[in-house]
């Protein structure tokens, strides 16, 4: 029991902050145009259910994602970010996702270092044929964020 509580505290950014009762996580989904966006389309056309918490932005390639996008999302409305691109080797631009992979790792580690839980920023490879996988990924990310609660770190103030 005690270990569990400790585990919980250790993995929280601000353990004393309680989530409001009607809170729903907001997830920023940045999807590559050629694979993941098509994949999410397929999820819809195949009528697979997934949580409505994700807000999707389409980019040409996962390597288009500047770390700045992730930071901006986290600072404005998002509680978590999901970035999705083509599987390695499938990139429309031959090697974009290989470059992106390196950048994502560093971004994730740095954000974790300054205090964001590692589940706040997640990455996935979803191809245009993997509608079911997209639904699974979004469900997993949503549940992860729901467990972590709302993000309170370095939010841009608007009130």
């Amino acid at each position: 029991m005690e270990a569990e509580i400790k585990e919980k505290i250790v993995s929280m950014e601000k353990p004393h902050m309680e989530a409001p009762p009607d809170w729903q996580p907001v997830i920023m989904g940045i999807l590559c145009n050629w694979c993941s966006y098509a994949g999410s389309d397929l999820t819809g056309t195949s009528r697979i259910q997934y949580p409505p918490n994700i807000r999707i932005i389409r980019v040409p390639c996962s390597s288009r994602v500047d770390p700045w996008f992730i930071i901006k999302s986290l600072q404005t409305i998002a509680d978590g970010v999901l970035i999705s691109g083509c599987h390695p080797g499938d990139c429309h631009y031959i090697s974009g996702n290989y470059y992106a992979r390196r950048r994502f790792l560093v971004t994730k580690k740095l954000l974790n270092f300054v205090g964001f839980h590692e589940n706040r920023v997640q990455f996935s490879w979803v191809s245009a044929a993997e509608g079911a996988k997209f639904a699974k990924v979004v469900t997993k990310v949503t549940e992860d964020i729901r467990k972590l609660g709302p993000l309170h770190l370095y939010k841009k103030e608007n009130s």
Binding site: T76, I77, E157, N158, S159
Partner: protein
């Protein structure tokens, strides 16, 4: 007006500070990342009122914060609503310990611009509700030249209570303003009225302090000479190693330029007033691309001339107060003292 002086010793002073911290909202110099900065304190052990110069920041952020909310608004399709921000956290009655004399003078200089024409009520309120308790330095730091400027440090009335070391480990608390006088009377428990030798001892302390300055300038002469130096080539020469960051203005106790900016998410937004610096390339860049000060030396010239000539011309006081913070904080150690003395002397050549 005859102002009272009290005398005490080190232990008495500590007790005096502790009593103040218990009774009032108190701010003091707190050590952060190896430098002292003014923060709210709850006990004397957290801060060090006698912390040495140079410090990172002056007391300016407590009166003119690095970023303050001006107003809030909601803009929806139904209409726009403006509202005031939550209560100003700096406006309440408070005491600031360990303010250096130069910082206090900086506030006095700022009063001129804030009380000119439009009166900045927030600033005025913060000033009115604050008591500055200020230990006089015993030793000048490397870049200080406060004694050389156009104000009398010895009897400076910008501080409310001056704390001065006398002979034989005695410490004198001297009220300098009426506000300080009432404050001292209310909080003078455990302090005794100073005896006859106090005046002489304080004078002696000032003399040794004044003698410890390495940097001295003839202010009158510099001010007069700078007036004709707008086109001096020295402005291009000396600050050529400036990297155009904004550090000098942000740490300066008297720099008061600011910018107004909006931040909005969805329907709600806040308007901020934040520090800005004339050394910034974008400072005077106008929409359309015209910039009156596109190059580094012009921006430096504006800074130096504003500090030593323009403000004096307009408001009758010198804007630079000789605290040396800009020089200490400068990434490349450019000294404003060096720049102005060189510019002023370049006329003879």
């Amino acid at each position: 007006m005859k102002l009272t002086t009290y005398s005490t010793d080190q232990a008495g002073l500590q007790a005096f500070y502790e009593a103040i911290i218990r009774a009032h909202d108190t701010y003091g110099p707190v050590e952060k990342f190896g430098k002292f900065d003014f923060k709210k304190v709850n006990s004397l052990s957290e801060c060090d009122p006698e912390s040495p110069i140079p410090r990172t920041m002056s007391v300016k952020p407590l009166f003119f914060p690095k970023s303050a909310k001006v107003m809030k608004y909601t803009a929806t399709s139904a209409g726009t609503e403006l509202s005031d921000t939550a209560e100003d956290p700096l406006a309440g009655k408070r005491v600031i310990l360990g303010v250096k004399h130069c910082d206090a003078r900086g506030l006095q200089v700022l009063d001129a611009v804030y009380k000119w024409d439009y009166i900045d009520t927030d600033y005025e309120k913060r000033r009115e509700n604050t008591i500055l308790i200020s230990p006089r330095c015993d030793q000048a730091a490397t870049h200080c030249f406060c004694t050389s400027l156009d104000y009398d440090l010895e009897t400076l009335d910008a501080v409310d209570v001056a704390v001065i070391n006398g002979a034989d480990r005695k410490i004198y608390l001297q009220a300098r303003t009426e506000k300080g006088e009432t404050f001292l009377k209310e909080n003078a428990t455990g302090l005794t009225s100073a005896n006859g030798s106090a005046e002489a001892e304080m004078k002696k302390q000032y003399e040794t302090f004044a003698a410890s300055f390495r940097l001295k300038m003839n202010y009158q002469e510099i001010n007069e000479r700078m007036q004709g130096q707008f086109d001096s080539p020295t402005f291009e020469e000396v600050p050529s190693s400036c990297v155009s960051c904004n550090t000098c203005a942000f740490v300066c106790p008297t720099c008061h330029c600011f910018k107004i900016s909006d931040e909005k998410i969805r329907d709600k937004g806040v308007r901020y007033k934040s520090y800005d610096s004339c050394n910034n390339v974008y400072f005077t860049l106008m929409a359309g691309g015209h910039n009156p000060r596109p190059v580094k030396y012009r921006r430096w010239r504006q800074r130096a001339m504003h500090k030593f000539v323009y403000y004096k011309e307009r408001f009758g006081v010198n804007l630079c107060i000789g605290c040396g913070k800009c020089t200490t904080s400068c990434p490349v150690n450019i000294s404003i003292f060096e720049v102005v003395t060189k510019v002023a002397s370049s006329m003879q050549e």
